[in-house]
């Protein structure tokens, strides 16, 4: 498809790129970054380090304040993604830019449709798309609406779209964040295949193991500056993470001892009805005891959302029961659940976790309005609210100028810390943590891990739902695997089960016996 060229001149070079925002914050500071033709180059860094800004500049979505971009040694100016596409730069965004009701073909050719007699030439379009999709094993018919495709296939469609538009440099923003281990392996195979055909790939990721596995070179960005570029073979994961956070980061966590106590969350035969006869959650039973972290693994869309919504009172329970500290939650309001000891970190911090246009302090007290200590003479006291918020901000290391700042202005990691600060200080005995570290930086994630473990050791029951297997392995005492709305495995000792084996339960290849799964439900003798 593409011939391997002379690699002495970088195919793309960014020289002294700086980006200053209106408020004087440097998102990128004097970055020099180059890409050799036919390499896979990782860009790693914490959230808010400036990776996305740099990529947006290279893709023409943002203009650099200073600095220049060279393609094969010639200076170019990108004022829109179209300009970037002209120079064969393509990008696959973390949040797909696909139109659900349009077919695979329509999505791929969007904006660049072949025409015939004033109408879109569907046949030619399909032929062209088919040609490119060949190497991607897209099993679905090309006229399938994209909305019906699984996430992994959607991503392939995005890559095909970039290739159709003639991309020879492909920027992938956190491509594996949404994939199962198996899908990730497949994606990597394809990327290497494309690389061998001469494509240049920029790969943004948090997951160092993946980066180490697939890339040729790695560039580390920290606080807007490009710290160093390595040849992948010359560095270890520890060295990269050290460069990313500035300090050595160990991935092993010592959870310490905890004392198991009473059953805090008792879920019995819980069911949520779906379309027709299929249940989205089907007859699940498990318990979480005080001093225990139970992890829930599973490919997204296997009933985890519905399960959590039922436990947290957001969705009616169609069958079975949920008890929190012995209280049956049927017919109870969310306030009553919270009073019974429930705290909840939702996966969607922007929609569910926070009121984005309100201040940090208002968000901090949102669940604490019944605390007398916030009132003076029956009215809310600003100064009391402020001092409490400031204390929480300090304790939970929220990086902000003032507690009066809008929560929406914070980075993802800091937003999450606001949610965590609020939810962890409720005196809760049951914490439901749903994707607690998704899309946030390593430092903030580590902090949240430590807090979760602290609560566990203090006797809290923690239910952790995560798509990040590494996280589940790190934190969970036991892991439940969900497949098709049911528990497909109860992993009593996560350290004895490999990720690959877990993957087979997640994909429904294997299922434990009913007897084994019963272990998830603890009953006092």
């Amino acid at each position: 498809m593409i011939k391997k060229g002379n690699s002495t001149v970088p195919i793309l070079e960014a020289r002294n790129i700086s980006k200053v925002y209106g408020n004087g914050v440097y998102a990128n500071k004097n970055i020099c970054f180059s890409l050799n033709e036919g390499e896979i180059h990782a860009l790693v860094g914490e959230n808010g380090a400036g990776k996305s800004t740099l990529m947006k500049i290279l893709f023409g979505m943002e203009k650099p304040s200073t600095g220049e971009i060279l393609i094969k040694g010639n200076p170019v100016v990108f004022s829109s993604p179209q300009d970037a596409m002209k120079y064969e730069v393509g990008m696959v965004h973390q949040h797909f830019k696909l139109v659900d009701p349009l077919s695979i073909t329509e999505n791929v050719v969007l904006g660049y449709e072949p025409m015939k007699n004033g109408l879109i030439d569907r046949k030619t379009a399909e032929e062209k798309v088919k040609e490119i999709t060949k190497i991607f094993d897209i099993r679905e018919d090309l006229s399938t609406p994209v909305g019906k495709l699984p996430v992994g296939t959607k991503q392939k469609v995005e890559i095909v779209k970039a290739l159709y538009r003639g991309a020879k440099i492909l920027i992938l923003d956190e491509p594996t964040a949404v994939l199962t281990p198996q899908e990730t392996v497949e994606l990597f195979e394809k990327l290497i295949q494309l690389k061998n055909e001469g494509l240049t790939v920029v790969f943004i990721s948090h997951k160092l193991r993946e980066v180490k596995q697939i890339t040729d070179r790695i560039s580390v960005i920290r606080r807007g500056e490009l710290i160093e570029t390595f040849f992948t073979k010359d560095v270890t994961e520890q060295e990269i993470s050290a460069k990313m956070v500035g300090t050595t980061y160990t991935s092993a966590l010592d959870k310490g001892e905890s004392k198991l106590t009473e059953v805090v969350l008792d879920v019995k035969n819980i069911t949520s009805k779906g379309l027709g006869d299929i249940s989205v959650v089907n007859n699940m039973s498990f318990t979480v005891r005080g001093g225990q972290i139970i992890g829930i693994a599973g490919v997204e869309g296997n009933g985890q959302n519905e399960l959590i919504e039922m436990i947290t009172g957001l969705r009616p329970i169609d069958g079975g029961s949920v008890k929190i500290n012995g209280m049956d939650t049927a017919g109870k309001s969310i306030i009553q659940l919270r009073n019974a000891g429930l705290s909840y970190i939702p996966s969607d911090r922007i929609d569910r976790g926070l009121a984005i246009s309100m201040t940090i302090e208002d968000n901090m007290i949102a669940t604490k309005l019944d605390q007398k200590s916030l009132y003076t003479n029956g009215l809310l006291s600003r100064s009391k609210i402020r001092s409490m918020s400031e204390k929480l901000v300090k304790e939970y290391l929220v990086r902000c100028n003032s507690v009066e700042a809008e929560v929406g202005m914070l980075s993802g990691g800091n937003m999450q810390k606001v949610v965590v600060a609020r939810e962890f200080t409720q005196g809760a005995t049951l914490i439901i943590a749903e994707q607690p570290t998704r899309g946030i930086d390593v430092g903030a994630a580590k902090f949240i891990y430590e807090e979760l473990i602290k609560l566990r050791n203090q006797g809290c029951a923690v239910l952790l739902v995560s798509a990040d297997l590494e996280e589940l392995y790190k934190l969970s005492d036991h892991i439940l695997v969900m497949y098709n709305g049911e528990i497909s495995a109860y992993i009593k000792n996560p350290s004895e089960v490999s990720e690959t084996e877990l993957g087979t339960y997640m994909l429904g290849v294997k299922k434990q016996s009913a007897e084994e799964i019963k272990g998830a439900y603890y009953e006092k003798e």
Binding site: V99, P101, L102, L110
Partner: protein, 304 residues
């Protein structure tokens, strides 16, 4: 009761359903094209009213019906151009803008009518023309079917042509695809290098043109003059018809025909000494009932 049933199953009744559905069909297509682009044009009502008056004026001063039609279409485009300017350029809320324009249309048409004729209610002072009816050669001689389908206004046939064009347009043309994409995921077409605003502008202007035809039907075919507030909520009923049709041209057409039937029924019931206050309520009451069923069903599906 028997009489009512016999009326409903008569060819005349079907004929009047088609006739009375015509403005709702135009309005529904006007709503549909804008809605699919993600900018639901709730000012279709006002656009039709404005175009109804302008069509009358255009035909009276231009001397023939076709200038009237042209003026109606152009004024529809102009009117939705105003919405586009406010919503796309100045970024005002489209619902508020739409409400403002609907209210303005009501007052503005009376004002213009008064300036030209000195009358605040009807345009009888203007010598306006009406759109001819066509008898379709072979069809007209077929019994029953001919009675139902032949002899309608040019605009009625045009309404069905518009529906066919929109169906093909959305599915098979570039702009049609962009309109669907703009309504579903604007970012997707933005990154493909197509301006969402330009796509939406075009959709709104098309919407205005179609609404203009609907307005022209009201004052140049349904009746032969402009009367104040003569659109009488058909633009709003179209919003319901489009929603019930899920933005699909064919399903939306069926819903529009349903509301047209309600209109026809209300006209016919008046013949049986039903109080006219009650019968005139029919199309609107049925809209609410239909929407209730629709919402209940949608909610049930969502629950699943």
């Amino acid at each position: 009761m028997e009489q009512i049933v016999s009326i409903i199953f008569s060819a005349d009744f079907i004929f009047s359903v088609i006739r009375l559905s015509t403005p709702i069909l135009f309005a529904t297509m006007a709503v549909l094209i804008s809605d699919r682009a993600g900018v639901t044009n709730i000012a279709v009502e006002g656009t039709m009213l404005f175009a109804a008056l302008m069509g009358v004026i255009g035909s009276a001063y231009g001397g023939n019906v076709w200038t009237g039609l042209l003026v109606a279409v152009l004024s529809g485009i102009l009117f939705s151009g105003i919405i586009a300017f406010f919503h796309l350029k100045l970024e005002t809320d489209i619902v508020l803008t739409g409400i403002a324009l609907n209210l303005m249309a009501s007052g503005l048409t009376i004002f213009i009518l008064y300036l030209l004729t000195g009358d605040k209610g009807v345009s009888t002072g203007l010598n306006s023309k009406t759109v001819p009816n066509i008898h379709i050669p072979v069809l007209r001689s077929i019994p029953v079917l001919g009675e139902m389908l032949s002899g309608h206004s040019v605009l009625t046939y045009l309404a069905f042509v518009v529906i066919a064009i929109i169906t093909v347009f959305l599915k098979k043309t570039r702009l049609g695809t962009y309109i669907r994409a703009a309504g579903e995921n604007a970012e997707a077409i933005d990154t493909a290098g197509i301006s969402v605003k330009v796509v939406r502008l075009k959709a709104l202007l098309i919407s205005g043109a179609i609404a203009g035809l609907g307005g022209a039907f009201m004052s140049m075919s349904y009746v032969s003059m402009f009367t104040k507030d003569m659109v009488a909520g058909r633009g709003f009923i179209a919003l319901a018809a489009e929603a019930m049709g899920h933005g699909n041209p064919i399903l939306s057409t069926l819903s529009a025909l349903f509301f047209g039937a309600a209109d026809a029924l209300s006209n016919n019931l008046q013949l049986f000494n039903f109080p006219s206050e009650l019968t005139r309520l029919m199309p609107y009451a049925l809209t609410i009932i239909a929407l209730t069923f629709y919402a209940a069903r949608a909610k049930k599906q969502l629950k699943k």
